[in-house]
Structure formats: C-alpha cells, structure tokens
C-alpha cells in the first residue's frame, strides 16, 4: 500500500467532488492512477476514492448536528438501512475509481514497460544462440 499515490489521489477526488464533479473525479483520478501506477492500480485507486469520500462524509457529518437519527431518516427516505446508505455512498466512488484504474492500466502502453523480465524459453534461447553464432 503506497501513501504516495493514495493520499494525492484521495485529495484530488475530494477536491473534484467538492467543486461539483462527484462522478467524474473518481473516474479521472482512477484512470490517472491506472496509467501512472504500475502496482495494483485498481486497488490503490479504490483506496484513494474510499479515503477521499470518507473524509468528505465525515466532514459533512461533523458540520451539521447529524445524529444517528438523522442518518436513519435520510436512509429511510431512500428505503435503505443506515449502514447500507453509508456503504452505498462509499462504494460508489470506489467502484468508479477502481474500474477506471483497471481499464486505464490495461490499455496503457506503459503497462508493457513495467512488465517484469521473463527468462526466455529454452527453445528460444537455442534459436537466439544460433543466430548470434
């Protein structure tokens, strides 16, 4: 787990959401992580999204006198239990960011450069040696 990618990712997602792009920001930041981060990008993008929206949600709850009763009321209006509303809220950017990261990583040319070296097959080695000779 790398804080160097999760923290900036979370900040970017939170900032994007703050200025009014709740759907676009997890997607864009997830894609960026997918392109730039070689190691388990979907996982890290998911963590960044989770951290970003958890912080925003915490802030929203702290700013108001949002007791558990009010969360229950809000969830009730959507016909959900409270925990499900919280899970749905946090799962939403996570799914978007992780999916975007995976696809961006999969389609990125950099993915090849970061592939670990693989020892050649014996038959290929033989061909190689013959060609060199």
């Amino acid at each position: 787990m790398k804080a160097t990618i999760i923290v900036p990712g979370a900040i970017l997602i939170a900032a994007g959401t703050w200025i009014g792009f709740p759907t676009a920001s997890p997607v864009i930041v997830g894609a960026l992580i997918g392109v730039t981060w070689p190691h388990r990008p979907a996982f890290h993008a998911a963590l960044a999204a989770l951290a970003g929206w958890s912080a925003l949600l915490g802030l929203a709850l702290l700013r108001g006198d949002a007791s558990g009763m009010l969360v229950t009321k809000l969830a009730g209006a959507m016909r959900l239990p409270s925990w499900a509303l919280v899970v749905a809220t946090l799962a939403y950017p996570v799914v978007l960011a992780a999916s975007a990261a995976w696809l961006a990583h999969f389609g990125s040319p950099r993915r090849e450069r970061h592939r670990p070296p693989v020892p050649p097959e014996p038959a290929v080695q033989a061909l190689h040696r013959r060609a060199v000779a």
């Binding site: 759907t23 809000l74 959507m78 999969f106």
Partner: protein, 829 residues
C-alpha cells in the same frame, strides 16, 4: 482468463456506475449528485439551522431590508417599501420552503409528470382538463404590467429567484436530490396556480354528483330529501336572533324506484379523484370573535383555526411584515403567495372558514361532432370551441401524452362516461382574486373596512371572513362571488347548454351576502354551517354538504355560556372535547336499548353496550374509554340505515349528513329503517339503532378486548398523521393522538386533515396574540425547526407571538438569526 474477467467487470463497473451516476436508472435518480457527500443528500444534514448572520442581494430592491428571525424561526421583515417587503418575503419563504413551493405549483399547473413521469399523468390531466392552468395564464395576461398586482407578483418572484440564484447545490432541498431534479426559476404565474389549486380544494362542489348517484338508486324525490338545499339544523353564521339552534326536521319520503335518467347523469358528471362518498370528518374550520362586553379584559378577542390538509412541511408559513407608516402585519402566508392570508395588524385581526357555496354548475352541450367537437350550439347557432393543446412532458423532456382541452364561453368542456359533453361554469376559473387584496386589507383600521376591502378583490373560493378591531367592533361576512341563476333553477340542476337563458345572470350584490356587524349577542361564530337562515333569505347558496352543524352548535353553546371570555378560554375552546353530536345521538341509542329490552329482544351485548355508553361523559379526551364505542356505533348505524345507497356488494355512492340522520331518527317507522337484505322482516328505528350499538360493542370486544381491560382508549382512534409532500415515511409523522373527535371543534381523523393554524388575538391599546401550526418553519426534514411546533399543537397550547415594531424591539435573547438583504447590482435575471 482471469484478466479478461476482471476487465469485463471493470467495463461493467465503469459503464454502469457512470450511467447511474449521471443519468440514473428508472426511478433511481443520478447517484453521483445524490450520494455526493458535499453537495448531495448528505449536505442537508449540515444545513439544519439558519446561519446566525447572513446577507444576500436581491435585484430591484430599493434599499436594504433587515430581517430578524425570532426564537420560533419567524422572520420579522423590516423594509422601506411594500414591494421590498414582498421581495424579502419571497426570499425568506424560499429559503425555508422552496421544494414545497415548486411541488405545489407543479401540482396546480399539471406539471408533475416532468418529475414523476406517467405515474403523475392522471393528476396532471385532472388539473388541465379543469382549466386551472389556462385560467392562471389568462389571469396573468390580464394584469397591467405596471399595475400593483403584477408588480407584487414580480417582486415576490424577484425574492424567490434571488434565493435560487444564491444557493449552492449543497443548499438544494434534499427532496430535489432524491428525485434527481433541480430547482426551477420561479415565475409570477406560479402564485396564480397556487390560488387556483386552493379554489379547487375549497370550492369544487360535488352536490350534483351525489344527488345524481343517489337518485339513480332511490329516485329523485328521495335523493333531493337526503341532500336538501338547506340545513335541517339551523344556527347560521349571520345570527338570526333566536339565541338557539332551530331544528327544521321534516318527514323523509321513502326510497323510490331507481331513476335511469339520474343514472345517465351520474355517468356524465366528472368525479374528483380525491373525493370519497363519505363526508370528511376532519375537514372543517372554525373562527369566532367576542365583543368587549363579553370579554374579561373589555377588549375584542378573535380566534381562528382553518382545517385543511396537514402535510409536512405545513401548508402555512409564519411571517411579520413591517413597512413603517404603511404596513405592519403578522400572520401566516401560503408559501408561494405574496401576502399574509390569515393574521392581524395592530388594529384588526381576521380569520377564514370555508363557505362551501355552490359556485360550480354544469351544462349539457350540443356539439357538432361528438368524437372531435370543434363547435357547440347556443340559441340555434354554432359557436367555435376554444381549443387548447396540452402536452405532458416526462422526466427526460419528451412529450408523453397530449390532450385537447375545449372551452365554451362558460368554461371547460369534458366528455362523460356515456359520451355526452358537459361544460362547467366555475367562479374559481374567473380572475376573481386581486393579488394585492390581502396587503390592501392589512391597512384597514376597522373590521368593517377590512371586510369591505376584501370583498372588493376576493371572489373565490368563498370564505366566511371574521374580523375584530381595536375599537371593539366584531364583524363577519361570507365573501365571494355567488351566482345569480336563472329563475327556477338551483346549482343542483344540470342545465341545457344549448340555450343562453340558462347562463348565470351575474353575481349577488354585496348587501345580499350573509354578514353581521356588532350583533346584539356580542359574539360571532362560524364553523362551516349554513351562512344564513333560509327563513331570512331562502335563496340557494349552499353550505358544503360535507359539513354538519355540530361544531357551530357547540361553539355557540360555549360562547353563550361565558360572559367573561379570556384569551385562554378562546384557546381552550379550540380543542374542547365536548360534542353536540354526541349529545344528540347518545339518548337515541340508550332509549332504543331500553325499548328493545322491554320487548324482550335484548342480547347480552346490548345490555353491556348500553351500560358502557351510559357512563360516557360525552367527551373526546385522549384517555376516554367510551367515545370509541359511540363512534363505532355511529358507523354501524350509518351503514345499516343507508343500505339503500349501497348497491349490492359495493360502497355507498353517497352518504347523507349526520344531521339528516338525526332528522330520520324522529320517525321510528320510516321505510328507510328497513334493511333490504332481510326480506322476511321489517325493521324499525329501535331495532336498527339497538342492533348498531350491540354490533359495535361486539366487534370492539373481538378486536380490542374487554372494555375493562383498558384497551378502548380514544387515542387509538383519535389520532392524525402528517404526511410528507412526497409521501416519504421517513419524513412523515404518523399517529399523533389528539383531543377531539367527530363533531367536536377539533375533529381528529386518520386522514391527515385538521387545524392547520391556530390563532387567538386580543386587540386593545396594544395587540397580544398567540398561535401555532402543526409542523415547523423549516422544510428541511433534518432541521430541528421541521416539526418543532408539533408537541405544542398536539396539546392544544399556543405560542406567544412576538410583534416587534422595529429591529431594536426584538431583544437579542429573542433573536435566533439575522439576515440583511441589499439591492443587487444589475437589474434582475
């Protein structure tokens, strides 16, 4: 393989997530804006209170406006001009109630489909086919651009739109998020839509439909007797000097043969979707005033409690407008309308009850082509129909349905189930309300002047407007436009539209209105009873047939018994648990039980029931254990008596009032007592009344248990509910037990109707006032101000209303928040 699966999942996750996030799916709104912790639904949790100090700019404001919210969340608006005060009113009401304003406007304008899709189509069609939106648009177009009424509508819109522009998405009411919508700009016509809707609620009649439905089963003569032109118990709003109710009971003709013509007529008449065949037990209003000679302090007192739909947020919003030297008015406004509808100034106080006058008549029209009419016939010649194309737009902006609404010179025309065309003449569709009338009337200094100003600008829905003034005068007038009909007709006939002689001839002149000024009895009271004694004026006016006179009887009894009335007594009367209806009916049950006993026909249930009912104090207190038996017995009695009005296996098509039932009780052998289902015997009154009581007892024991076990408390029945406008259970308050029952001044019901605002005002050198309404000032379901008034309202208590003359008069300890409005640079939207 694994990578392919993961990729597929990612594609699905991103695609579905983005789609659901931006566009939503089916009934699910876009998830991004909904779940967004900053600007979405969660934001509503962080905006539950008014900021302690705030400012905003409003276009066209002539100078700064200072607003102080008191501890109860009431804005006191101090402005330099009347129009500025109205701009500020628009701003503060929108700040608390924007979603309600838009929802109710959409409902009135027939535009709910734009939010809800096809599910709202029937409701929208009803509004548009009635012609209400068209009427509002015509009314707006008829206003002079620089006229006072139009300027007030524009000023109000300035204020509302300033708030809409001022909002960040985080400020949007949570309901917009839940529906995936955004606030629309406020148009001046919206106010007119709201008044049209109010007219539809309060003045849309229904008597023709009831009589036709009843006549189809029991014949015309019987139907007319069951739904008479005049009340059978007379204690009118305009005092008749008798000092007591008069009972104009008369024998009822027996049920006759079904009338096939009436059957066809019943199929032709439009039926309101929200109307039941049962009278609405909680739909009622009271107001009364007491002259100084009968008050303890020697000052005029006035009380009012209009009974309407009790929704969350409340129908009303409380506000105080001060324009030095011009206006100083306190009371409640309907969110979306520029003025105080019910309230008081330092000189005058007033309140309304519904007159229920019949101001809607139907005409059978002769048309050129029944399937697609373009012309209708009058006096032998064809006239073109005015056609209006109505399109209903769905959630995605596409047209989902279209209608052609047709208008004759009388009003809208609709097709009945039998294929005939019917037009209607309805005062609510006339531009009969001057928007400035409430503000003009608030400048009056006497009760009479107040009523005269109102009468000049208020045509529909007709209201019994009571007023009292600082000089000690009290007055009441049933104000509205009452049609003068052709000789020999009443509003209960469906007339031939092909002749112009059947058209209305005009409206009653003011001197014919039911009214009274400083009567010798020194008090005045209205509770939706017939406004005038038919012996004084036999002209047909009609009080709403749903309303019985019981509240009026009880109120007059209370007022006659108290010659030293205090404000606190006025408050107590509003929830007095006594009932003239119970006093009238209980003896019949007890006597019937006695007589059945003497005949040897008494069962054990009847003896127990009679003993239980005899011990009742006839009070509808919440812990009362006997009222429930009486009400169940009354329901049984209605069901068993009016079985002729319920075709086999179906519901009753119409139900006569309980005062008509009392009329019938005077005749022990009337044919109406005989039940059609028992062909082998003939029942009489006592058999039916006693059987109803016994059956009520029996079913209660079955359902609730033995009465001595303590389960028969009235609060099981005597409760009401407050539904959120969208019907969201989480934002609603069900099951609020109240004191009162059918026929009392506080008729409780499970239907969500009741006293939507209660007020008591004492007028003297200084004005003192008390009031409350069920709910709270805020429309945010998470705000502590959403239902903060409900506990007080439930107990029948009132808050003291603060009436500061200027900003300095409201003590800091009484101030909850401040708001300063300044002129915006630029000039509006």
């Amino acid at each position: 393989m694994r990578t392919a699966l993961q990729t597929l999942l990612a594609i699905v996750g991103l695609g579905a997530g983005s789609w659901a996030g931006v566009r939503g799916a089916g009934p699910i709104p876009p998830l991004g804006p909904l779940l967004d912790p900053v600007n979405g639904a969660w934001a509503a949790l962080a905006r539950t209170e008014l900021p302690a100090d705030a400012s905003a700019a409003i276009p066209n404001l002539s100078g700064p406006v200072h607003i102080r919210y008191d501890r109860r969340g009431v804005p006191h608006i101090f402005a330099a001009t009347e129009e500025d005060a109205i701009r500020a009113l628009g701003f503060v009401v929108a700040r608390d109630r924007l979603f309600q304003m838009e929802t109710q406007t959409r409902a009135a304008a027939g535009r709910l489909t734009e939010w809800a899709g096809t599910v709202a189509l029937p409701a929208d069609r009803e509004m548009r086919r009635l012609g209400l939106p068209a009427s509002a648009e015509r009314h707006l177009a008829s206003l002079r651009a620089d006229g006072r009424a139009r300027r007030l509508l524009d000023a109000y819109a300035d204020g509302v739109n300033a708030w809409i522009d001022d909002m960040s998405p985080a400020d949007w009411p949570v309901e917009y998020r839940l529906m995936g919508q955004r606030p629309a700009p406020w148009e001046p016509v919206n106010t007119l839509h709201l008044f049209g809707r109010m007219g539809w609620t309060l003045a849309s009649g229904g008597a023709e439909e009831r009589i036709a439905a009843a006549a189809a089963l029991v014949g015309r003569a019987a139907a007319r007797a069951l739904f008479p032109l005049h009340a059978v118990i007379v204690e009118p709003i305009q005092p008749n000097g008798s000092g007591a109710p008069r009972f104009d009971f008369r024998p009822l003709p027996p049920p006759g043969a079904p009338d096939s013509g009436a059957h066809r007529l019943a199929a032709l008449l439009p039926r309101r979707a929200d109307r039941d065949s049962e009278p609405l037990p909680g739909f009622a209003s009271n107001n009364w005033a007491v002259a100084p000679r009968r008050t303890a302090a020697g000052r005029a007192l006035l009380a009012g409690d209009p009974h309407l739909d009790m929704t969350l947020p409340s129908l009303w919003y409380e506000a105080h407008l001060v324009v030095p030297g011009v206006l100083d008015v306190y009371g409640v406004t309907i969110p979306g309308t520029p003025g105080i509808v019910l309230g008081f100034t330092r000189d005058v106080a007033w309140s309304f009850t519904n007159t229920g006058a019949d101001v809607l008549d139907f005409y059978r029209e002769t048309v050129d082509d029944p399937d697609n009419p373009t012309r209708y016939q009058v006096d032998g010649s064809w006239r073109p129909l005015e056609l209006r194309e109505e399109e209903y737009v769905g959630r995605r902006g596409r047209v989902i349905a279209a209608d052609t609404v047709r208008f004759t010179h009388r009003g809208t025309m609709s097709r009945g189930e039998n294929g005939e065309w019917l037009s209607m003449r309805w005062t609510v569709l006339d531009p009969a309300l001057n928007q400035a009338v409430f503000l003009d009337a608030a400048r009056a200094t006497t009760a009479r002047e107040f009523l005269d100003i109102i009468a000049a600008g208020f045509g529909a829905p007709a209201q019994n407007i009571i007023a009292a003034d600082r000089g000690g005068s009290i007055a009441i007038r049933s104000t509205g436009h009452y049609p003068i009909r052709p000789a020999g007709t009443t509003g209960l006939d469906v007339l031939d539209g092909s002749v112009s002689k059947n058209d209305w001839l005009g409206f009653w002149p003011l001197e014919r209105y039911p009214q009274s000024f400083d009567p010798p009895q020194n008090f005045l009271a209205s509770a939706n009873q017939e406004p005038i004694d038919p012996r004084v004026n036999p002209d047909y006016l009609a009080a709403d047939q749903d309303f019985d006179p019981w509240r009026a009887l009880h109120l007059n009894r209370l007022l006659r018994a108290d010659s030293s009335v205090t404000p606190d007594a006025m408050r107590r009367y509003q929830t007095d648990p006594g009932s003239a209806r119970a006093d009238a009916f209980v003896p019949f049950f007890l006597e019937a039980a006695d007589r059945e006993r003497m005949q040897g026909r008494n069962a054990a249930e009847l003896d127990s029931a009679a003993a239980w009912l005899e011990g009742w104090d006839r009070q509808y207190t919440r812990d009362n254990e006997r009222a429930i038996l009486f009400e169940r017995a009354m329901s049984e009695l209605v069901q068993q008596t009016w079985d002729e009005l319920a075709p086999k296996g179906t519901r009753r098509v119409a139900t006569p009032t309980s005062s008509l039932l009392l009329n019938l009780l005077q005749d022990s052998a009337s044919a109406w007592w005989d039940r059609r289902s028992t062909a082998d015997r003939i029942e009489d009154r006592d058999m039916i009344v006693a059987a109803s009581l016994a059956r009520a007892y029996e079913t209660l024991v079955e359902q609730v248990g033995d009465p001595r076990e303590g389960g028969w408390v009235w609060s099981r029945v005597g409760s009401t509910r407050f539904d959120h406008l969208l019907g969201l259970t989480a934002f609603s308050v069900p099951g609020v037990a109240v004191q009162g029952g059918p026929g009392t001044l506080n008729p409780s019901s499970r239907g969500g109707h009741g006293p939507s605002w209660r007020m008591v005002v004492e007028l003297g050198d200084s004005v003192r006032a008390w009031g409350t309404y069920p709910g709270g000032q805020s429309g945010n379901p998470f705000s502590p101000r959403y239902v903060d008034r409900l506990p007080l309202w439930r107990e029948g208590e009132l808050d003291t209303l603060l009436v500061p003359r200027d900003t300095a008069s409201l003590a800091p300890s009484s101030t909850r928040a401040r708001l300063r409005l300044t002129p915006a640079t630029g000039n509006g939207r």
